[in-house]
């Protein structure tokens, strides 16, 4: 019974199961490269897949051996079984500070009160291959006024192609003659006409200018022009507050004047830079041009299986890597293949900023569904890009792939058909829609569908109601069965009637002596059941005492004893064993059982 209770308690919860399947989130992390020299950079890529809140951010563990800079995030999506799932890719630049082998503790990601963790990562930091070069500003721009503090904006080139990377550097120079009362506040330049990416980390070093040693801090940004023409990278501003009080007096120390907001505010600005943006040449532009301007691109194609049945999908992944702004790149396309249906099922773009150069990776997923069996070659996929350094378009292509298509399962890919004979193949000359259907027999103005009618919904409660009622009745029955004396009492009359019925049959068949025995057994059995005692050991005194205790009237008690005496007499002396006497005794026994049932119930 306890088990049943558990089943009924669990059922409603189980009913809800298919509707409340939790959305899974997966978290992965990797470091590229895993061995990095001091002074170089490694990229930490954290990928979150599944359904999650977009505002969530990964929590990085303490990374004391590295300077860490977030270098952006990108989002992609895919549709699986009609369910949309996103993947967010966070990239960080790690600049190692000291040699050694380090294990990065699991990165955590929290979404909807659940915490997900990635596997721990290991990275080895080795000796620097060469010393980090100090920032080297253009000698023409060296400040000649011998200022103790100044800023300078420089670009690595002033003529670029559309979508070619241009690196703009803001240098902040101080020689230590002036103290700053608070951290400088930086306002980036106007960048209209450009798509901009920050390039961490900040560069730090020393430089000799006019015989003075300056501490130089440099911030770098990558600019990608969006259209040809002449554009301007505006003036960047840095707000500083310098110590104009000397800051050495005892008074200053006593009142801590610096913290009270004293000091002189100055605004440092850079010169705007004019940039000429050249259009991409029209001449020689291939049809497969992807819009990407960069260099060192590579393309790879792979399939998730080499053998497939007709009608079953095969997933093809195209991966493009190299330098350039991958966010503006069009996905590469597989040429049309006869006998295949082709669907694009999503794409992902990742950006990296290693060594201040924007590079990336674009992964495009394509689903191919073959219609016919046989060996097929997935042709190479071509991709063209513009190399601004060589000033020409370059085309790369993936290796072709072989796919074996086996006959489809019946009902899915269609029944396999074998053509025999020496005749020509049937040529399909055209496709059109199937013809219209004739007038349907059941045409009628539609009413409310049956499942929206109230009675139909109500009908569903009936079977469960039957189950519930049966459960109640069954529980009651089991309770009675568990209470043996009570069960005997309830069954006593039925058992007595059954035996008296047998006695009646015996009388009719002339077996009078046994009929008397049956009547006696029925009566004694009935009283024994009511007493919850053993019938064979029951004496007349026991019966009388029991009946008296239960308040049975004297007349009925005497009748019971009398009937039992007649039966015993008939069994042991042949004189009283006539069928008439037996019938009379049987009738008396029946009457007395009925009377006792009323008294003892």
């Amino acid at each position: 019974m306890k088990r049943l209770k558990i089943i009924f308690a669990v059922l409603p919860a189980l009913l809800c199961l298919p509707l409340t399947v939790a959305a899974e989130v997966s978290l992965s992390a990797r470091i590229e490269p895993s061995v990095v020299p001091i002074g170089a950079q490694a990229t930490l890529i954290v990928t979150v897949k599944g359904k999650f809140r977009k505002s969530s951010q990964p929590e990085l563990p303490s990374l004391d051996a590295f300077e860490v800079y977030q270098s952006g995030s990108s989002q992609s999506f895919s549709i699986v079984n009609g369910q949309r799932s996103s993947s967010l890719i966070f990239t960080y630049v790690l600049v190692p500070k000291m040699e050694g082998r380090y294990t990065i503790s699991p990165i955590r990601f929290q979404s909807d009160d659940k915490v997900y963790t990635a596997a721990p990562l290991s990275v080895e930091v080795v000796k620097a291959q060469s010393s980090l070069p100090a920032p080297t500003p253009d000698p023409a721009n060296v400040d000649s006024n011998d200022a103790p503090i100044f800023i300078r904006g420089t670009v690595d080139r002033d003529t670029v192609y559309v979508n070619q990377q241009l690196t703009w550097t803001l240098g902040f120079y101080t020689d230590g003659r002036l103290d700053l009362l608070r951290s400088p506040e930086y306002s980036p330049p106007n960048s209209q006409g450009f798509w901009v990416e920050d390039l961490p980390p900040q560069k730090n070093g020393y430089q000799m200018i006019n015989g003075r040693k300056y501490l130089v801090n440099e911030i770098l940004r990558g600019f990608f022009a969006t259209a040809p023409g002449e554009f301007e990278i505006g003036a960047a501003k840095v707000e500083i507050v310098v110590d104009n009080m000397g800051g050495r007096s005892a008074m200053d120390q006593f009142f801590n004047m610096r913290q009270l907001g004293f000091g002189k505010q100055r605004t440092l600005t850079t010169e705007p830079k004019r940039i000429i943006v050249l259009p991409l040449p029209q001449r020689g532009r291939p049809d497969s041009f992807s819009g990407l301007v960069g260099r060192g691109l590579a393309i790879a194609m792979k399939m998730d299986k080499e053998t497939v049945r007709a009608g079953e999908p095969v997933n093809v992944t195209l991966t493009v890597t190299g330098d350039g702004n991958f966010k503006t790149m069009a996905a590469p396309k597989i040429p049309e293949i006869e006998g295949f249906k082709m669907y694009e099922s999503g794409s992902t773009s990742e950006l990296f900023k290693s060594d201040y150069v924007v590079s990336g990776r674009k992964i495009t997923n394509i689903v191919l569904v073959p219609r016919d069996e046989g060996e097929t070659e997935i042709p190479p996929v071509k991709l063209s890009y513009f190399d601004p350094y060589e000033k020409r378009y370059r085309t790369i292509e993936s290796a072709p792939l072989k796919l074996r298509v086996e006959p489809g399962a019946q009902g899915e890919g269609g029944t396999p058909v074998v053509f025999t004979g020496s005749g020509e193949d049937i040529e399909v000359l055209g496709h059109d829609i199937h013809h219209i259907h004739p007038t349907p027999a059941d045409i009628a103005v539609s009413g409310t569908p049956f499942y929206e009618r109230r009675y139909y919904v109500a009908l569903h409660s009936l079977p469960m109601l039957v189950v519930a009622l049966t459960l109640l009745v069954e529980r009651r029955r089991r309770r009675w069965l568990a209470d043996a004396p009570r069960a005997r009492m309830i069954r006593a009359k039925r058992e007595a009637d059954k035996q008296l019925g047998a006695a009646s049959d015996m009388i009719r068949s002339g077996n009078v002596e046994q009929a008397f025995a049956a009547v006696s057994a029925a009566l004694r059995g009935y009283i024994a059941d009511k007493m919850n005692a053993s019938a064979p050991g029951l004496t007349d005194d026991d019966i009388e005492t029991f009946l008296a205790d239960r308040g049975v009237p004297d007349e009925a008690r005497r009748e019971v004893v009398s009937v039992l005496a007649v039966c015993d007499g008939a069994r042991y002396s042949a004189s009283a064993t006539s069928p008439e006497a037996a019938t009379g005794t049987y009738a008396r026994a029946q009457a007395v059982v009925a009377k006792l049932e009323k008294e003892l119930s």
Binding site: R84, Y343, T439, P440, G447, P463
Partner: protein, 271 residues
């Protein structure tokens, strides 16, 4: 007895009477179509739709007529409406596939594993009425199994189980009668759950008219329901969209891949 007959008639689903002239009108529309007068056929089929006839063949023929007038958006719309009532009709599926291959916008396809493919197959291949009936039968089966569990100690149930359990897979795993019945109840429960989930989703989709088709040649999708909002992207005739909100003159739609926005209400029609 008479009362019982009346009650039974009242319980019959869809008791709206068929009309002989509906069949005549349908035949007349078919004749116009076969004569190549597709605009007139569209009007004739459309008149039947306006009268409240919801019939898979009617929608199919209307889809054909729109295809012949090169209105691919409405052809997709009516083929979809036809498939909603008769999802396994090969003609409708073939025609829809042919029309889709001629649409301007790329169609998304979903990757599915075997289990999900099975559930999605049920969802896509059974009409709402069939799904509800399947759910009701599963529910009845579940109740019968629960009844057997309740009465598992009675002689008739034990005898019945002995006779039927020859075919039960539970026997192979050495399950007792109660365990076998509980396992069967769990299976029935899963059937009820999947059928109910699928049926409810279909009914809600029909009521909320959440699936729609672009019926104008090109629809501009804006960032907000105003004329001076930012134009985000454009979709073209025949593209299926999900509708999430309706405001006066505007409908908020979404496509797979975080693409969403507002289109003029007349640009889309609900399936």
């Amino acid at each position: 007895m008479k009362r019982l007959a009346v009650a039974l008639i009242l319980l019959l689903p869809c008791a709206a009477p068929a009309r002989a002239d509906l069949a005549a009108d349908f035949q007349e529309a078919n004749t116009l179509y076969e004569q190549g007068d597709y605009p007139a056929a569209i009007d004739a089929y459309g008149a039947l739709v306006d009268e409240g006839v919801e019939n898979a063949d009617l929608y199919y023929n209307l889809g054909n007529a729109y295809y012949k007038t090169n209105d691919l958006g409405r052809a997709v719309l009516y083929y979809e409406r036809s498939l909603r009532r008769r999802p396994r009709n090969a003609d409708t599926r073939d025609n829809l596939e042919l029309v889709r291959s001629q649409l301007r916008d790329k169609q998304f396809v979903t990757k599915q594993n075997r289990i999900v493919r099975g559930i999605v197959w049920l969802h896509n291949n059974l009409s709402t009425g069939e799904l509800v009936a399947y759910m009701s039968l599963s529910w009845l089966l579940l109740c019968v199994i629960l009844l057997l569990i309740v009465l598992r100690d009675t002689a008739p149930v034990r005898t019945l189980y002995r006779r039927l359990s020859v075919a039960s897979p539970g026997r192979l795993f050495g399950l007792t009668m109660t365990q076998d019945l509980v396992a069967a109840a769990c299976v029935a429960l899963i059937l009820v759950g999947t059928a109910a989930g699928s049926a409810i989703s279909k009914i809600r989709s029909e009521h909320d008219r959440r699936t729609a088709v672009v019926v104008t040649g090109e629809a501009s999708v804006f960032s907000s329901p105003t004329d001076n909002a930012t134009l985000q992207f454009k979709i073209h005739s025949g593209t299926m969209v999900s509708v999430s909100e309706r405001r006066e003159g505007w409908t908020r739609i979404s496509l797979p891949g975080d693409l969403s926005g507002w289109v003029p209400a007349k640009a889309v029609e609900s399936v």
